[in-house]
């Protein structure tokens, strides 16, 4: 399942019934999905611990 699929699944699980069509809910779903997309697209920060699977990072340090 893709990242956005996981978010959609959580939304199905968490949203109270009848709230999915609320205009504000739709607006926040779009904004939050975009924020998550931007965040996930950014490389994991290097904060002293090698990002899992980043062999290049390990070889550089």
């Amino acid at each position: 399942m893709s990242d956005s699929g996981i978010f959609d699944a959580w939304i199905e699980f968490h949203l109270p019934s009848g709230r999915k069509d609320d205009p504000q809910t739709k607006r926040w779903l779009e904004i939050t999905a975009r924020a998550l997309e931007v965040l996930r697209a950014h490389p994991q920060p290097i904060d002293g611990v090698a990002p899992l699977g980043d062999e290049a990072w390990i070889s550089r340090h």
Binding site: I6, F7, W10, I11, F13, H14, L15, P16, R19, D22, Q24, T25, R27, W28, L29, I31, T32, R34, A35, L36, V38, L39, R40, H42, Q44, P45, D47
Partner: protein, 437 residues
């Protein structure tokens, strides 16, 4: 003397010298509020009797020497900040009778410094984004901004010399800018948050709205018990964040460019400050942290009173419940990275310079956009807006300055220098208020 137009520092000076009594000042302000607040709606509650009693006590306590720095000076308190025996409603109906038994830490410090609580100013519900009833004192069809809506409108409308606000995204800097006041968000935790209803633990700040940089320094000194006065002789080195200008309306961008030119002509160095990451990374990171934390903060209350929540906040919290732990942790790691980078960049200059917001005050159906303030709530660097004249539409212009965490006084010194160069602030004339003085 027009008592209502006195800044906090001027009022404190006049009261200390005996030329003005606190009682006179409070009486004038109460009359002004009575005349103007029916239309402005900046106050959730005015505590007239207690304010008058405190003013009389301040006048009796006045001595020739060693008066506390804000003796007899009234202030407003955003209605998410506790004041003993006054309801903290947060614009939430189930909280209308929520009576705190103690002052918040910041109110306690300001009372210790001699200041007088005039009342509670209107907040958006729980300091979030649903539009408030408050109107912009410059134009009634525009928002005063949010969430410290009443605090900004009351200070600009000369109803009170200063007021407390809170900022999680842009809730001090943006409304102060929209209303043409000085708004200051200090370094993270510079002002204690005890007794303030939380929205997002990692992002909440207590801030100050006033009518001069000198006032902000005076009030910050009282709130932190570290008195200081901003003094700067040398023109500052400013780092211009043109990446922020690109995301602003043309009219706002041009005005900030013009202010930059004016500061440069007065001797400041204004050079490009380059970020290593897109602005949207900071706003996205801020969004994920704030929404996830707000959803947890409100989880139980939302379950108990879903229909008492305003529509924007309710949907925001419900969607926030679906943000996963891994995404939240990623956002916290990126937050730390952005803090390091912005600190390094800000450290190359005396302050960073950018627009206070991406637009001037929009219509009253929203509280404006937090994109240009939120990165500094995210990273905890001190930020502030100072007014810089009016647009052709009659709405305030302003600039935003950002300093280094823990060096708030240095930022205020830069702001005081800029304030001395920029156009002198003006204040709106509301129907009824001048006639009362």
């Amino acid at each position: 003397m027009d008592l209502a137009s006195l800044t906090a520092a001027q009022a404190a000076h006049e009261i200390r010298s005996g030329r003005v009594s606190s009682t006179e000042l409070v009486e004038v302000l109460l009359k002004g509020i009575e005349a103007t607040d029916g239309a402005l709606k900046a106050w959730a509650l005015v505590d007239s009797d207690a304010a008058m009693a405190a003013a009389r006590a301040a006048d009796s306590a006045r001595a020739r020497e060693n008066n506390p720095p804000l003796l007899g000076v009234p202030f407003g308190v955003k209605d998410v900040i506790d004041v003993r025996d006054l309801p903290t409603s947060a614009a939430f109906t189930p909280f209308r009778d929520r009576l705190p038994s103690a002052d918040s830490a910041v109110v306690d410090r300001l009372r210790e410094a001699g200041a007088i609580v005039l009342g509670k100013t209107v907040t958006t519900q729980f300091a979030h984004a649903d539009p408030p009833p408050t109107r912009n004192p410059w134009r009634a069809d525009r928002t005063p901004g949010g969430s410290s809506s009443g605090s900004a409108a009351a200070v600009a409308a000369l109803q009170v010399p200063f007021a407390l606000g809170t900022q999680t995204g842009g809730s001090v800097v943006r409304p102060a800018y929209f209303c043409g006041a000085v708004g200051f968000k200090p370094s993270r935790d510079m002002i204690c948050r005890r007794g303030v209803i939380p929205l997002s633990w990692s992002l909440d700040h207590v801030g100050i709205i006033a009518r001069s940089v000198t006032d902000i320094a005076l009030i910050l000194g009282a709130a932190t018990r570290r008195p200081s006065a901003p003094t700067r002789q040398d023109p500052p080195r400013l780092g211009f964040l043109s990446i922020a200008v690109k995301s602003a309306d043309a009219c706002v961008g041009e005005a900030v460019q013009a202010m930059g030119d004016q500061l440069r002509a007065a001797g400041a160095s204004v050079q490009e400050a380059e970020l290593q990451w897109p602005w949207e990374l900071a706003t996205a990171t801020h969004h994920v942290i704030m929404q996830a934390e707000a959803a947890e903060a409100h989880r139980d209350l939302l379950a108990q009173h879903p229909d008492s929540y305003a529509p924007i906040l309710r949907a925001y919290l419900e969607v926030g419940m679906a943000i996963g732990a891994a995404d939240y942790v990623r956002a916290r790691r990126v937050q730390a990275m952005l803090r390091r980078d912005l600190t390094e960049l800000a450290g190359s200059f005396d302050a960073l310079l950018l627009p206070s917001s991406s637009t001037q005050a929009p219509d009253a159906s929203s509280t404006g956009d937090s994109a240009l303030q939120a990165p500094f709530s995210l990273t905890g660097l001190p930020s502030m807006t100072i007014p810089s004249g009016l647009s052709d539409e009659g709405l305030p212009h302003g600039i935003q300055l950002v300093g280094l965490t823990g060096h708030d006084e240095a930022l205020l010194a830069v702001a005081a220098w800029c304030e001395s160069v920029l156009p002198a602030p003006s204040w709106p004339s509301l129907p009824g208020n001048r006639a009362m003085r």
